[in-house]
Symmetry: C2
Subunit: 318 residues, 2 copies
């Protein structure tokens, strides 16, 4: 993998970024040290999430937005958050290829990451990759959900500003409301707005928005045709306005606080899991599974036994 | 809530079932005792999951299948697994109403439950409600995902037999494959098969299936028009065949084993979370969050501190 030059990483060198993310993904021995150094350099980048149902044009919006920021002289990184099949266990190659297909200049760093963390929300590795892009001096980190389901909502927890993309097709806004997307949007994009039904869709979204509580920020509903770039400039303006609002209102600090708290809790749960599931306790569970299958004992009873054993072993060490 | 008569529960009395599920949902003092008594009476019901993308007609398939089983003299319970918005925090009233709308006779017990557990998969409460329906003497428990996203895959972990419903609309099978639905299906239903493109959709699914590994059971792709009942009888036959296959092959025991193992692990994680997050340690995290926001320390360092404190306190007790 080669040695990682931290100074080159802080200066935004793309190969160093790629190497750093790989170290974190592979949990290389040096990755704990690296993450500590990275974390204390975070906090500069604007973290923008792009989410919405499949077919809303999220990838196109992301690449056009990236091109817009590049033209404005900003440094930008992209994380494509993949729905990882629990069975195949990997990101979907098709989408990965599709992202790199996009006509961005080669200064934009793009990386695909698996979506789900053990406690819900984005996976720890994904959050750490965003930290790396932040610490490497990017002004903007775009997080885009790729493909289907699962991570649509999770991305809001990782972003400062969440853009929800919808299309005019009937019922889409209702589905989005049901899925909780209406509640996480800071900016709405009605993409493919050159299709029939666009104005009705915008009205439907606005109507649903009126039922939602607002604390000083009312999400706009912008029409875009991302494929030809229509509306992207205005979208960037709205995203900037939201960032300014967050800084003014103290909301940015609150978002960061809850994001960091979630990460600490996630790390602790992972540590406890490792501490708990020793080979001995694993073997004990295996034994008891036969009793469970024979219905001689209940899951709660076996959980009690194992937790009691955990505490006893701890006490004995004292 | 009134006192729960266990004998009436085992006999399948609907009010007793409703009361038992409520006790478990509300974590009533007696619920641990109840769950123990329930668990040792489980293992009889066939647990069938109905899943698929929004708009595939899952509710209609579920109600027609339930009517079919009723006509065959079977006892059946239904759990509608709701995608719970992390913000509204409740099941979606609209879908709940829709389910009870269905023209089932009043002997079929239907209940809506929130979908997500803390460690992914169906929520613990949902699994426990299924146990209650099983222990109450139902021959069949149908679990249906309602609405959008999230729980589409989770249901497979809770079911003996998983039915995936799709519709002829182009691209649906590709989306399903991406979302991992192809890998969890024991039986495919191409619903609304009177629409254009049905035969092509069936062929597309079969083609994708050929790329999947099979261990003795090859999922069929059945055409249904659930709204008028077409194909439901054959679906019931296939579901029965799958159950027979599971019993013959030992797969049922394996599925149960991994399901129960998951539940024990989930209970243990919940217990450890409670044991760990004392008021003192909560306060310690609050303090350190300011240092984290000031970038003076990293999440991993704070997690280390707290876990070390947890082990130290344990050791001191010994």
């Amino acid at each position: 993998m080669g040695v990682l030059d931290l100074d080159r990483l802080w200066s935004g060198d793309r190969r160093s970024i790629a190497r750093a993310i790989s170290q974190v993904e592979n949990e290389a021995p040096a990755s704990a040290e690296l993450l500590r150094a990275v974390f204390v350099r975070t906090g500069r980048a604007h973290r923008i999430g792009i989410t919405g149902p499949p077919g809303a044009g999220k990838s196109t919006i992301t690449s056009k937005l990236a091109a817009h920021y590049r033209a404005a002289g900003k440094r930008i990184g992209i994380i494509a958050v993949d729905p990882t099949s629990p069975f195949s266990g990997g990101a979907l190659l098709g989408d990965r290829v599709r992202m790199t297909d996009v006509d961005l200049d080669d200064q934009v760093f793009i990386r695909s990451m698996a979506s789900r963390g053990s406690l819900g929300g984005l996976s720890r590795r994904t959050m750490e990759a965003v930290d790396i892009l932040d610490a490497a001096g990017n002004d903007i980190v775009l997080m885009e959900t790729v493909g289907v389901g699962q991570s649509e909502l999770d991305i809001a927890g990782a972003a400062d500003t969440t853009v929800v993309a919808l299309v005019p097709e009937s019922g889409d806004s209702i589905q989005a409301m049901k899925a909780g997307l209406m509640e996480i949007a800071d900016v709405f994009v009605l993409n493919k707005a050159d299709r029939a039904g666009a104005d009705q869709a915008v009205m439907a979204i606005q109507m649903i928005l009126n039922f939602r509580k607002h604390d000083g920020w009312m999400p706009d509903v912008l029409k875009t045709v991302a494929s030809d770039g229509t509306g992207i400039d205005l979208l960037a303006v709205k995203i900037d306005e939201h960032r300014a609002y967050l800084e003014r209102s103290g909301g940015l600090r609150l978002k960061r606080r809850s994001r960091i708290e979630g990460r600490v809790r996630d790390l602790i749960a992972a540590r406890l899991r490792v501490d708990f599931w020793t080979a001995d306790r694993q073997a004990l569970l295996e034994q008891r599974l036969d009793d469970l299958l024979a219905l001689a004992v209940s899951p709660a009873q076996v959980a009690d036994e194992l937790v009691t054993d955990f505490h006893r072993v701890h006490d004995d060490r004292g």
